[in-house]
């Protein structure tokens, strides 16, 4: 708040003030009061008006200055009213009240949406668990009757269901994962076992190196991520998948490399974007553009890094980094007593 702006804002008041003093001086002159007296009275009036104005200016400047500073420093600007506190200034008090009301109403709205999205997510989870029962039943029936033709379709259904489940999980604010040391070898074998028939039908070989180590993550989520990456390799014509891990002092790097068709350099920056289907996705396979998007969201939630590199016609490599001694992850671990009863 600058003095110039303040004066411009108060210009009518200033004009009235000056006019009033001038009028007073004029009347006093008309009544032939002594010149000295007129000077003194005029001076007193002018001084009074000036100091009243200055006091008002300083008071406003102080409060608005504080308000602006707070707004600038705050990262969540909607908390402004709570941070700045209730002022003495009348205008300030009104502003403060209005801010608070607006804020409260916004919080209510946000809470409504949050509740709605949580309810929706809970229903999705419930539905996923419901639908898995008949899928499990059918899978057993196929096995018992020795009919393998249906199993393939059932596995596809199960894959689609998993995608929905993890998509719902990746977007929610809830922390429903458990972070603990997980064997990379075991997790990868779990994922490979799930896609074994498909991998073997396509004649894709798996090679691993250095997976005999543990990373701090959620095993289920990592299995899903491996499954997604393998599905991509299968879609884009890989013949070999090579998975290797390297333990570095501060992190573990996991490389998932295939010798499929690769990704064009111009498209590489977008492969983790939602609904992005590159030229590969359009020409070679049906792509929804959701797989890698979900994978990256899950990685972000778990605090893992993920990046991709590729050379067209040669290889695609997805690199994941797992932090070590990451206290941040440990703190995010949900406590057992927070768990809802079924």
């Amino acid at each position: 708040m600058r003095l110039k702006d303040y004066i411009r804002d108060r210009l009518p008041a200033l004009v009235i003030c000056v006019a009033a003093i001038a009028l007073a001086v004029l009347f006093m002159t008309a009544y032939r009061l002594p010149g000295e007296g007129i000077g003194i009275i005029g001076g007193i009036l002018a001084l009074g008006a000036l100091s009243a104005g200055l006091w008002d200016f300083l008071r406003r400047k102080r409060w608005y200055g504080k308000l602006l500073r707070c707004a600038e420093e705050l990262d969540k600007k909607y908390l402004l009213a709570e941070t700045v506190g209730k002022p003495e200034l009348l205008d300030g008090r009104i502003l403060y009240e209005v801010l608070r009301q607006g804020n409260a109403s916004m919080c209510e709205q946000v809470a409504n949406y949050r509740r709605e999205s949580r309810d929706f997510r809970e229903y999705i989870e419930l539905w996923v668990h419901e639908i898995k029962l008949p899928v499990a039943g059918l899978q057993l029936m196929c096995h018992n009757n020795g009919d393998q033709r249906y199993s393939e379709q059932l596995r596809r259904i199960d894959g689609c269901i998993e995608n929905v489940l993890y998509y719902a999980r990746s977007g929610s604010a809830e922390k429903d994962y458990i972070i603990k040391p997980v064997s990379l070898k075991r997790t990868f074998a779990d994922a490979a076992l799930r896609s074994r028939e498909e991998l073997q039908e396509r004649g894709i070989s798996l090679r691993t190196e250095g997976l005999d180590t543990e990373v701090v993550t959620d095993g289920k989520w990592l299995t899903f991520i491996f499954g997604q990456l393998m599905a991509n390799s299968m879609k884009y014509g890989a013949e070999e998948i090579f998975v290797s891990a390297q333990v570095l002092p501060d992190r573990t790097e996991l490389r998932f490399r295939d010798d499929g068709c690769g990704i064009a350099e111009s498209e590489l920056p977008y492969i983790f974007e939602r609904s992005f289907t590159g030229s590969n996705g359009r020409t070679q396979a049906k792509s929804t553009g959701m797989g890698l998007y979900i994978v990256r969201k899950l990685c972000r939630k778990l605090g893992h890094g993920i990046s991709a590199s590729s050379e067209q016609g040669k290889f695609t490599e997805i690199c994941m980094t797992f932090g070590r001694n990451d206290l941040h992850d440990v703190r995010q671990q949900p406590r057992l007593q927070d768990r809802k009863d079924p």
Partner: protein, 220 residues
């Protein structure tokens, strides 16, 4: 024959599981009355319990806790919930394994036999006719001579031995190998089997593994 108690409220699943277990040479017993389940668990005399987490008016985890106060019967939890919390809780309450639905039936059978082996009285040395099979050393010995098996050969032989006299499909063998991080392909499996055969022949056990065309293998 090992007795397996099934605690699963989905009728279709329960029936199919019974068939699966029966075909694999186990004796399945199913709980169908949801009164006094803990009593039924304790009095069943089962060698292993397959326990669903979501049961009518009951919670599998609570049942497990109650069972563990008195008995150490191996328990495998089955669930359609995929949250990590259930798994951690179940394992901390003393479950021996935890499998999410839908499961690959072959994997389920492998886990059952793994848990039975781990908790049962079957020691490190099993016998096959007059030969001794040591899974710890990874070897078969007979009449003083010994053959060392590779990891893959041991996995194959172990599965055939566990289901001696029955047909084991190539698919089952493949699943067992992949479950042990051995991502072999079709050719490699054939090579492994022929190597295993020649090692058995060295011990004088010719034609121990019989090929059933388009079905699989049988260990005689």
């Amino acid at each position: 024959m090992k007795k397996i108690l099934l605690i699963e409220d989905e009728t279709a699943l329960r029936e199919e599981l019974s068939v699966l277990l029966k075909n694999a040479g186990y004796t399945p017993v199913a709980v169908t009355e949801w009164e006094n389940v803990p009593e039924q668990m304790k009095s069943s005399g089962a060698d292993l319990i397959l326990l669903d987490i979501n049961l009518p008016g009951l919670n599998g985890e609570a049942l497990l806790q109650e069972l563990r106060r008195e008995s150490s019967t191996p328990v495998i939890m089955l669930t359609s919930r995929t949250g990590g919390i259930d798994e951690v809780l179940s394992l901390s309450y003393g479950a021996d394994d935890y499998i999410t639905k839908p499961y690959d039936p072959t994997v389920l059978l492998l886990r059952i036999s793994a848990v039975l082996k781990r908790t049962g009285k079957t020691g490190a040395v099993q016998s096959y006719h007059d030969a001794q099979v040591s899974s710890v050393k990874g070897s078969i010995s007979r009449n003083g001579s010994e053959q060392i098996l590779t990891k893959n050969e041991m996995i194959i032989f172990q599965l055939l031995l566990d289901r001696q006299g029955e047909i084991v499909t190539r698919d089952d063998l493949m699943t067992a190998l992949w479950d042990n991080d051995e991502f072999v392909n079709d050719n490699a499996l054939s090579v492994n089997i022929s190597r295993l055969r020649s090692k058995l022949a060295e011990l004088g056990l010719e034609e121990a593994i019989e090929t059933r065309k388009k079905q699989g293998y049988v260990l005689r």
